[in-house]
């Protein structure tokens, strides 16, 4: 009896097909990313003053985080761009792989492959910068990761954040197929603002006269008051529950919703 939900063989065939169909686009994106990384490395090298003898890794982390997030968002938003045109839509849905394999395949390409390729490019760029700086300017590299990543915010937590960002754009990609990145980006902003305003409305109804200012609240966490007790903070158990939901339930929920949304699509 054939397994209609998941087969590793079919997933492999699906990934091979996807990579073969789009290898030029992938090569182009990777080349651009590598070129941009090496470009930044060269700019960094030429701007490095002779008296700067230390290159702190923590100084390089902000651009790394920004570009990683941007790349994840861009690629995740294009996860289902095959659905933009009727002919490609038909091709996508009629390919003999299960819905799960198709969605999982897109996830693997847009998150796992992208993460590996991005880090490879980032590593090559960093090594280029490091080699040039050490060879020609006598600089040394200081690996001060702990300025950004520490026991309360580990690299694993950072990856979780990126996974959350990916899940949001991945889910958004089931709604928008053309110009999906800006559309999803603004949709997320609108949803976040709407949530914040809803929270403001509720807090104003409940604590209207006690609020420090009409907007002084952090959704799911605290309300700032003009009373002696300055802030009402959620109890620890609720805070931990909220954090657990955000860390471990929200992301899978977005994946599951994406799966069902793709399964429900028809060709008009």
């Amino acid at each position: 009896m054939q397994n209609n939900f998941f087969s590793i063989n079919r997933l492999g065939m699906y990934l091979r097909k996807e990579i073969s169909d789009n290898y030029k686009a992938y090569l182009l994106t990777t080349s651009l990313m590598l070129a941009a990384g090496i470009g930044f490395a060269l700019i960094g090298f030429f701007n490095l003053h002779q008296w700067e003898k230390e290159i702190k890794v923590s100084d390089l982390l902000p651009p790394y985080i920004i570009f990683f997030a941007l790349y994840i968002g861009l690629d995740a938003s294009r996860s289902f761009n095959a659905l933009a045109k009727t002919e490609r839509r038909m091709d996508f849905f009629l390919l003999p792989a299960s819905k799960f394999e198709k969605v999982l395949g897109q996830f693997l390409i847009t998150f796992v492959f992208v993460t590996i390729v991005f880090h490879l490019c980032a590593w090559i760029s960093f090594k280029t910068y490091q080699t040039l700086a050490i060879t020609y300017k006598g600089a040394t590299v200081v690996y001060d990761w702990d300025r950004i990543f520490h026991p309360k915010f580990t690299y694993f937590n950072f990856l979780q954040l990126m996974l959350g960002l990916h899940a949001a754009f991945f889910f958004g990609a089931t709604f928008f197929y053309k110009f999906s990145f800006p559309k999803i980006f603004f949709s997320i902003l609108i949803i976040l603002f709407a949530g914040w305003f809803l929270n403001i409305a509720i807090t104003n109804i409940l604590f209207g006269k006690s609020l420090h200012d009409w907007f002084t609240n952090i959704p799911f966490f605290a309300i700032f008051t003009n009373k002696q007790q300055f802030a009402y903070v959620v109890p620890e158990w609720l805070g931990r529950t909220n954090l657990f939901i955000a860390q471990f339930l929200l992301i899978p929920a977005l994946w599951v919703l994406s799966y069902f949304r793709i399964g429900d699509k028809e060709i008009q």
Binding site: N4, M13, K17, D21, K85, L94, L95, A97, E266, Q268
Partner: protein, 277 residues
């Protein structure tokens, strides 16, 4: 093999395209699906291939619900759509990454079909003309050896020699366990190919007969002048005289003219129904 029961479907609320449509298609046949523009031919094909979901009723293909789009269903059904999508790869690459999804794919037959259609094996797909793309997809569809083959306007874009090759190949691939459905406006392209005719009009199946039954009960001929004493179900004047459809009262043997039949069914539905019931 294909079982459509009480299918109700509408694109817009309150304007049903199909209402309680029933249709059963058997293996070992080539069905010609005919109908005017907007009659619902493509929609019906999409329902059969699981690209659209019924509002009510069911569409089953070899016992599987089509809208489930399970791999076991998809690997045994192939749709050649009117508008094609082909990735920017060479034929070899396309074959290497897609044929593996179809367990009964016949690589030798695929090469033979490409040769018949005179398509070079090392061709880059985006560089092909529309007609060549169509021939390539038809070759792939036939080689996929699926039990159900659905084709929407397959002869659009094919040149005259390719149309006869198409007919030859289709006829050659039909086996007892396969069902081929061809939807087209160009009915003359299907002459001598299909063995059953399904006509959709006003979102209903108004005619469904085997070609043999049609030629048993109707007569197709060209006469120099119309005889007022003869019952003519449909007449079409041309340079040679009048092409007519009449009840086959004298058990004459005639070749079916699909276009005449289609027009006769649409313009004289009640009389035709009385003859066939």
């Amino acid at each position: 093999m294909i079982n459509i029961q009480s299918l109700t479907f509408s694109y817009k609320a309150g304007r049903p395209l199909f209402e309680n449509l029933n249709l059963q298609l058997q293996p070992g046949h080539i069905y010609g699906l005919l109908g005017k523009n907007g009659a619902g031919k493509s929609t019906l094909l999409k329902q059969i291939t699981g690209l659209l979901f019924p509002d009510a009723g069911k569409v089953e293909v070899f016992g599987e619900v089509a809208s489930g789009r399970n791999p076991s269903f998809l690997q045994d059904i192939f749709l050649v759509p009117e508008e094609l999508y082909l990735p920017k790869v060479k034929i070899k690459q396309y074959l290497a990454t897609r044929a593996c999804f179809y367990p009964n794919f016949d690589y030798k037959a695929f090469d033979a079909y490409l040769k018949e259609f005179e398509i070079p094996q090392n061709q880059y797909l985006p560089e092909m003309s529309y007609g060549q793309k169509k021939k390539f997809v038809i070759s792939f569809a036939l080689a996929a050896n699926t039990r159900v083959l659905v084709m929407d306007e397959p002869t659009n874009g094919l040149d005259i020699p390719s149309k006869s090759i198409f007919r030859k190949l289709i006829a050659g691939t039909l086996t007892d366990d396969k069902c081929i459905i061809i939807s087209t406006h160009q009915v003359r392209d299907l002459d001598n190919l299909i063995d059953s005719i399904v006509i959709i009009d006003n979102h209903r199946i108004i005619f469904r007969e085997a070609v043999e039954t049609v030629t048993d009960k109707l007569s197709f001929k060209v006469v120099p002048q119309l005889n007022p004493a003869e019952t003519v179900l449909y007449a079409d004047s041309n340079l040679r005289g009048h092409a007519i459809v009449t009840p086959n009262q004298h058990q004459e043997h005639s070749r079916i003219d699909m276009e005449l039949l289609f027009n006769a069914v649409l313009s004289n539905r009640q009389s035709i129904q009385e003859i066939f019931n």
